[in-house]
Point group: C2
Chain length 327, copies 2
């Protein structure tokens, strides 16, 4: 048996051309673009669709993780064969068709994100359309928290509500925090101040007219229950969708991308507003997910963003489910 | 913070309904089907498209792995949160647009597989169409070996060649084995005898007319080199596609699904015709992939079927690449 090494292939060693006798067709044009990013699965009678909004590309600095150096983060990326120096954080809103209502959970970075990222994110509307979903048919948008990558997609390209017939449901403690001038005046973190400014821009009068707040430990909509998971933001919320005996834990940002932050629950991500509370929440939720072998959907999980969590050592390892060609 | 356990959610404890005041739209119909399974990426100037053919559903018995019990295989599936007792082996043909030629590597289970599996596999033609590829535009089909899930898709629904303008390129040692009546007469393994019968059916006069054999350690087509990886079948072949400084190792069935057989290279899969040679090939190739950090595409890798290999302990762990929304 011969196994060519990468070097041998690149230098062309051991390669001799074979003359092909096939008739030559006209060259087929390259497609030049990715497949639409959506994926369906069932939870009991609920039909869920992960609708990819794209991915971030954040430079990794020594303050990307407050208590781990750039070198340590790069070492973790190296071990996963991922590009160094940049954080490719996936964005995955989730659509739930309950049979009665079409419910969208979180909205991606929106048209502004699409423009700023040159098409790397802000893809929700085009991927929804590819999935055959008319945004006018969406009955409710449920938000897990008020960070821009979750709320900015509430607005369409024209600045009007992207989902004109949808009620917008926001966690009450989250809404109260980000709309409280007193909280803003006490905030010293410039990133959080910028967050307040963004919330003010996104919660236009048209959005506020549609907005209702929901409470922790109650059903947000039939079959979808809110659970308190604060730390990433003060009112950060996860959702549990249940149908029959089947459930899924929709974690929002309990971890950012699990390949970094589930494996290192002790890492304090710079976007966690209260990193100590965020770590406590993360460990509590992930201990439960692992012990109950519960399915989890993560906004920043790699597409299709659904999987299970294994407890390993002091951290957790995510297992993303394989592509199922049938529902 | 409150974290609802799975049991609490299922029994409805701590849940109180909130009355929604949203206007009710007509219920949106459920889609009832999966997204098309294709995914694009670049290797230098080559545009590659993984085109999913679906997945198998084989019962796991004590002879599924010759040297590991059903219990051990089930334990491995449990650890990965996968269904017990069944092997969901993904099928992923690969399309390469070289800019001059459209080359398909392996063909899936074909229309017969589609019918027999009730739509669980045999999906290549519909996923190719979803990817915007006209099967008449394919210039060449390169086969890694002659197992049914790689060759049966050579034939279309009408029994005529599915890729009527394509040359069919087969590894010479593989072709010679499966078309040698002497080899057949010496074969005692009934599964291999059935393989001979299948090859006879699939290599119709129309297919044979288009068929050319290719040799190990030579270019099959410009930029695509054949390497000997026997064991799974006597003439089993892998391919290395290279462009500029970039390469990908297209492994065929050096391992079947990596979540079982890369992690357990010592396991002798019942479909490996010479399991000892297959294991030796597997270790040699995977040691090289891990040492060179070379990208690998696996026919039985989870869609989108591209990743890297880490050496860990006595085995290997695959890292499937994350969905990239841009090429």
């Amino acid at each position: 048996m011969s196994v060519l090494s990468r070097r041998e292939v690149l230098t062309g060693a051991a390669i001799m051309a074979v003359v092909s006798s096939a008739p030559s067709l006209a060259a087929a044009p390259k497609a030049g673009k990715q497949a639409p990013g959506f994926y369906r699965y069932l939870v009991g009678d609920l039909e869920l669709t992960t609708v990819n909004d794209g991915v971030s590309r954040m430079p990794i600095t020594d303050s990307f993780v407050l208590n781990a150096s750039k070198d340590r983060v790069n070492a973790a990326l190296d071990a996963l064969f991922m590009e160094r120096d940049f954080y490719a954080g996936p964005y995955n809103p989730l659509l739930i068709n309950t049979g009665k209502k079409l419910v969208l959970i979180d909205t991606g970075t929106g048209p502004a994100g699409l423009a700023a990222s040159k098409g790397l994110n802000g893809l929700l509307l085009q991927n929804l359309a590819a999935a055959g979903v008319d945004r006018n048919d969406i009955d409710a948008v449920v938000l897990t928290h008020y960070h821009g990558d979750h709320i900015n997609g509430l607005l369409g390209p024209d600045g009007a509500p992207a989902f004109p017939n949808a009620e917008v449901l926001a966690p009450a403690p989250e809404h109260n925090f980000w709309t409280d001038e007193g909280e803003l005046s006490r905030t010293k973190n410039p990133r959080v101040v910028a967050g307040f400014e963004n919330v003010r821009k996104v919660l236009t009068p048209d959005i506020r007219k549609r907005l209702r707040t929901y409470e922790w430990d109650k059903e947000v909509l039939p079959g979808i229950t809110a659970v308190a998971t604060p730390g990433h933001t003060p009112g950060h919320t996860s959702l549990i969708a249940a149908s029959g005996k089947d459930t899924i834990y929709i974690q929002g940002d309990v971890t950012h991308a699990p390949f970094l932050f589930a494996r290192h629950p002790e890492w304090h991500f710079f976007l966690d507003i209260d990193p100590v509370a965020a770590e406590a929440t993360r460990r509590k939720v992930y201990d439960m997910l692992a012990a109950d072998r519960m399915r989890v959907q993560g906004f920043h999980y790699p597409f299709p963003a659904q999987g299970h969590v294994e407890k390993r050592g002091n951290g957790y390892v995510e297992h993303i489910v394989g592509w199922n060609p049938r529902l």
